[in-house]
């Protein structure tokens, strides 16, 4: 129960840059908000593993976004369908459909396109916001938050001690 909290606190207090932590949340947003078995998620996975993105935060944020996406699926469908059926965009979609990447990207499924169109702004616009959050936490809120009973409780717990020892 406390493990995820300790992991988040640990990540926030680590020496990793705010950009690495924010990028983790942004990539998790794309992976979580769009259908998992999509071609673009292979690219997300590649980026997360190849670039120094905080994996702990990525793994924790992904299920949160995935849960949230369940509620948004009808919205994804409506957005995706209305864009896919735009007469002006038909030619562009048709030529994309007729190449292998387009065919395997599943973009012609309204939910895939709709979810990607929501996930990308969330990830891109969210990146500076998440970075600002981490910076503010470290510079302003950390000391205050450390005084909260719950944080003291977590830090005093055996899970925290064990986690500290394990992660060195």
């Amino acid at each position: 129960m406390l493990a995820p909290f300790t992991k988040v606190i640990k990540a926030l207090n680590s020496e990793q840059s705010p950009a690495q932590l924010a990028a983790a949340i942004s990539f998790a947003a794309i992976l979580g908000l769009t259908p998992l078995m999509s071609l673009h998620n292979l690219l997300v996975l590649f980026c997360v593993l190849f670039f120094r993105v905080n994996l702990t935060l990525f793994i924790l944020a992904w299920p949160l976004f995935a849960t949230f996406s369940l509620l948004l699926e009808p919205v994804y469908h409506n957005i995706g369908y209305s864009i896919l059926t735009q007469p002006d965009l038909k030619l562009a979609f048709e030529s994309f459909y007729n190449n292998i990447i387009g065919r395997w990207s599943n973009f012609y499924y309204p939910v895939v396109l709709g979810s990607l169109l929501i996930a990308l702004p969330v990830a891109i616009l969210g990146y500076p916001f998440f970075k600002w959050l981490v910076n503010n936490y470290r510079n302003k809120w950390k000391d205050k938050i450390d005084q909260y009973q719950i944080i003291r409780f977590i830090k005093a717990s055996k899970v925290w001690q064990a986690y500290q020892r394990f992660s060195g």
Partner: protein, 567 residues
């Protein structure tokens, strides 16, 4: 700070390889479960595959030991295919299209024994329809039931009597008033008096004729006027008489209408003919019912287009929006299919199976060629099937069906279901000749089906007449069914005529006739008892005739008067 995580690259490739490897092992499992699940639903009995092998070069699948249980005999297989080899076109797979270059079904056998039952525990949807059993029993009705039934019935005759009596009363009242009117008699008396006065004056002096000329003329006019009035009344009286007569005829017809209605409530409206329709109509023959249910699944092309072009909201990835595809062709296509096999019956006589199919695809209008399937059996069983289905576009389809079964020994085939249980065709030789055309809108199908030397086993504890029916069927050398289906595909007109109808009539005829007549007689008596004697209503004519006589007398009087008028 280092941007790249080189071990991450290795991990990524490791994960990718794991996904590929997982797919390699998972695809056969997925195909196996799909074939077993969908096949079982279509067949109505277990479809199983022993093992599926995936080959990468050339890319394809091999299904070993594909079996489908017989829904009527779960301990036997309907088909048992040794091996199904599927060769796929790799380039089409890159475009997400499954194109089967060659499909070979080798070693097909039918009727092989199973070790476990092939029955589906929960059944399938279509079976629920077929399980609607026919209640084959002659109604048992006691005299008391008939009495209560008639007492509680809202008899049409009673209503008609009420209407008749009401009308008769109104008519009589009206005529009594009309004919008893003093004014009418007064007018006639006045005319008579005037005539007497003028006649007396004429007797006194002939010249009075000239003097009274005006009065004589006036009298003439008045008499004619009165005569016309009486003539009008006479016509009205005739009309009233005709109306009452028609109502009376309705009343007389009432008991037989009521009798027919009550007989139909019992289920004996048309006697034996009705019983034939009720029990051997297409609605109670299982395979016709199943055929009808399948036919109802077809929808006119309009609704198909709508469902495809306007995808419903879905919580998965949804219906795809289709774009112009340069890599034309169906999403699923079998370019060539070969079927071969043989089976031997208990006497050791072989039947060779062979078949071929071309351009069988989904969506069919994208294949560009008509789909063809030819299938032949030769040996102890002789049969051939031909299907040719051409799709010009998604709204235009024309399918020709031809099937010919020369000789097909059948055993333990489900024949009919009654509340006592299954009527089983223990043995017989089935023959059929079927021809038909099918479009998305219309069906035109004609089939002659024969069962030679039928041996029928019926459930125990059948009523006498049903046992007689079974015996009569078993005595026949051949039973013929003629099936016709035509009209709209969504609501086709289906008719089934068979020799069984005649046998049915023979089997139940005497018993039903006797019973039906007995019930009819009892009902008739009860109805007559309830409505009473109708003959007493017939006196309306006498009264109306007396009115007619009164009018006639007056008319005669006026006629006489008119003859005597001098001017």
């Amino acid at each position: 700070m280092k941007i790249f995580r080189w071990w991450g690259l290795l991990t990524f490739f490791g994960i990718t390889c794991l996904i590929a490897l997982g797919s390699y092992f998972y695809i056969p499992v997925l195909v196996k479960s799909s074939i077993e699940g969908l096949g079982s639903e279509v067949l109505g009995a277990k479809v199983e595959v022993k093992r599926i092998d995936l080959t990468l070069s050339p890319i394809g699948l091999t299904l070993n030991g594909l079996t489908g249980a017989n829904p009527d005999e779960p301990m036997k297989n309907l088909f048992d295919v040794e091996q199904v080899k599927v060769a796929l076109d790799f380039e089409s797979l890159l475009w997400k299209k499954v194109v089967i270059e060659d499909l070979n079904l080798v070693g097909i056998k039918t009727g092989t024994e199973r070790k476990t039952s092939g029955e589906l525990e929960e059944g399938r949807l279509t079976e629920q329809v077929a399980s609607k059993v026919v209640e084959m029993s002659v109604p048992e009705i006691s005299k008391e039931d008939i009495k209560t039934m008639v007492e509680n019935a809202d008899l049409e005759t009673s209503k008609r009597i009420e209407t008749f009596k009401q009308t008769q009363q109104n008519v009589e009242q009206q005529w009594n008033t009309d004919l008893d009117k003093q004014s009418s008699q007064d007018r006639i008396d006045a005319l008579q008096a005037e005539y007497n006065r003028l006649s007396d004056r004429l007797k006194q002096d002939k010249l009075n004729l000239i003097k009274d000329k005006k009065d004589w003329k006036q009298l003439n006019r008045n008499v004619k006027e009165e005569k016309n009035r009486i003539s009008g009344l006479s016509s009205k009286l005739k009309q009233d008489k005709a109306n009452l007569k028609s109502l009376y005829e309705g009343v007389k017809q009432g008991p037989s209408d009521d009798l027919e209605h009550l007989m139909s409530e019992i289920g004996l409206s048309n006697g034996v003919e009705g019983m034939v329709d009720q029990y051997i109509g297409p609605q109670y023959t299982q395979w016709v019912m199943q055929g009808l249910e399948y036919a109802k699944q077809f929808k006119p092309s309009d609704s198909q287009t709508t469902s495809e072009e306007e995808p419903e909201e879905t919580l998965e990835i949804g219906q795809p929006v289709r774009f112009g595809d340069k890599h034309t062709g169906a999403d699923f296509l079998i370019r060539s299919m070969l079927i071969s096999g043989s089976e031997s019956n208990e006497q050791g006589v072989n039947t060779d199976l062979s078949g071929e199919g071309f351009d069988i695809g989904y969506l069919p209008w994208l294949t560009g060629k008509p789909a063809k399937i030819n299938f032949k059996m030769d040996g102890s069983k002789k049969a051939s099937f031909q299907i040719n289905s051409a799709w010009k576009n998604k709204n235009e389809m024309m399918t020709d069906l031809k099937a010919n079964i020369d000789q097909w020994p059948v055993s333990n085939m489900a024949f009919l279901k009654s509340k006592e249980g299954q009527w089983q065709l223990t043995s017989g030789i089935f023959m059929a000749d079927l021809k038909g055309t099918l479009t998305l809108e219309k069906i035109d199908l004609m089939a002659d089906l024969f069962i030679q030397k039928p041996v029928l086993t019926a459930p125990e504890k059948l009523p006498d007449w049903q046992i007689a029916l079974v015996n009569k069927i078993n005595q026949q050398n051949q039973i013929k069914f003629t099936l016709k289906a035509s009209g709209k595909i969504s609501s086709p007109k289906v008719s089934v005529k068979s020799d069984i109808e005649k046998l049915f009539k023979q089997a139940i005829g005497d018993k039903i006739k006797q019973k039906s007549e007995q019930i009819k007689l009892q009902l008739k008596q009860m109805i007559e008892q309830k409505i009473g004697n109708l003959e007493q209503l017939n006196n309306f004519e006498q009264k109306l005739d007396s009115y007619q006589a009164q009018l006639k007398d007056k008319d005669k009087l006026l006629e006489g008067l008119l003859g005597k008028i001098k001017i």
